[in-house]
Symmetry: C2
Subunit: 306 residues, 2 copies
Amino acid sequence: MPTIGIDLGGTKVLAAVVEDGTVGATRKRSTPSEGPEAVATVIAELVSELGGADRLGVGAPGQVRPDGVMTGAPNLAGFGHRDVPLARLVADATGIDAVRVDNDVNVGALGEQAAGAARGMRDVLCVFMGTGVGGGLVLDGRLRQGPHGVAGEIGHASFRPGGRRCGCGGEGHVEAYAGRVAMEAEARRRHASGEPNALVKLAGDRTMKSKVWAAALADGDPVAVSLLAEAVEAVATGIASAVMVLDLERIVLGGGLVEKLGDPFVARIGEAVQARLFPGSPTTVVPAALGDHAGVIGAARLAESG
Amino acid sequence: MPTIGIDLGGTKVLAAVVEDGTVGATRKRSTPSEGPEAVATVIAELVSELGGADRLGVGAPGQVRPDGVMTGAPNLAGFGHRDVPLARLVADATGIDAVRVDNDVNVGALGEQAAGAARGMRDVLCVFMGTGVGGGLVLDGRLRQGPHGVAGEIGHASFRPGGRRCGCGGEGHVEAYAGRVAMEAEARRRHASGEPNALVKLAGDRTMKSKVWAAALADGDPVAVSLLAEAVEAVATGIASAVMVLDLERIVLGGGLVEKLGDPFVARIGEAVQARLFPGSPTTVVPAALGDHAGVIGAARLAESG
């Protein structure tokens, strides 16, 4: 029987049969809001509809310990603040012994390494720029999880010590300058304190999505231009430090902001990274290649990596 | 037969029988200046004096590829700028098949993980503050070398983009603020441009060694105090980014400046690292424990790690 990968999101659950990094049959359902057991049941139903599996991998939005226990899942209704043994719940519901669960960003990185923009390479750091800045690290073909399961947190690398407060409570982290939530907060702060800008005009009271950023930048709005330049600096600083410590050849960039701003944005970050390395370093920065399938492909790979 | 570890330095070669991380018999010789073959011969003589070995590990001052070829050794007379297949030369001279060679900083890190300040831990980043800032990274009990053999280069992590020129040609790297050579250059620059300081007065035309720094700091010299504060910030920024990307629990600090300034300096760097992490992070920063034996112990461990 095949391997099935599950991409568990805050609003939907995607399940796919994956063979050799290629997605076959898929099934999709809304994420139930009744909590962990209901989520495990939906996963079991999707697996059954797909004909069952020997091995099952799950990418989940939150912090996951190496033993498959979720220790934080703010975007999953009903998961609350307690520890949730998601791997065991899914194993019980499906009858499959070999269930592996990891953080969705880690799993996406594994997908890009297995079958996407870092295919054929043993090491890759994937950086996802969305509401926050997430990262997943694959070394020697395996996910680096770390003793607390929080490896890859490039969004919390140090950018400006003593600088802007980060969502995590730390100071001057990359995410405080390059995460969309932090960038929106700064744009609104500037708007309110005498720097009116297109970002706030376009977004109004609604969330300042990536397309708002794209439109304001296309307009040449000075605040948008300046905040984006700072975001590039921040992300590039975090990436460059990781490259130096790990000797990485390939960085993959994904997430909403990267998709919206496209290849020129990726190239710009690549140049800023290069400026921080040894002169002539062979490291390349490329866009993610798997789109919405990175999660299920990576989850299947996770299950197969034992 | 036992394992022998070799610490090949610019001025001396230390060889030791190492068993379970403990140093037994040792032999020491001056490093010959006639080049790679002469070095291999001296190593073979020391091994023979120690009764021979099944496995041999060598820590060497310079850049070493994963296949044991040195691609740069500025501190070894006669090695020049060509590639030197040191592992093969030593295997030929000693008749031992199992010869492993790695960079001395990497080997020191492996020693501290095997039997020193990170004993019993699977992961450690060792940072050595001397003329430059070197680093060695052990993950899951094995040295991280990277595809070009340059992993662990914490001295070239990004600190102040656009800032001081680093010895490597890059800009704003940690080493440009926290390496002794760079710190001396800055102290002399300030002295010459109207900020006379105790560092230059104490050192005169001689190298500004760690003991000069200790004396000037004890005197409260403002330039020494300010340059050291900057060095702490720089090193802590590089370390914190590595901790975030890798989820590291233990950082080991060594090198001349750390030995001279002692535990309060280590504690100060530890606090600066902590201020850059997730609040409440369990990462600890401790001094190296093996002193001059880190090299031979780590080299033996390298040989045993296959």
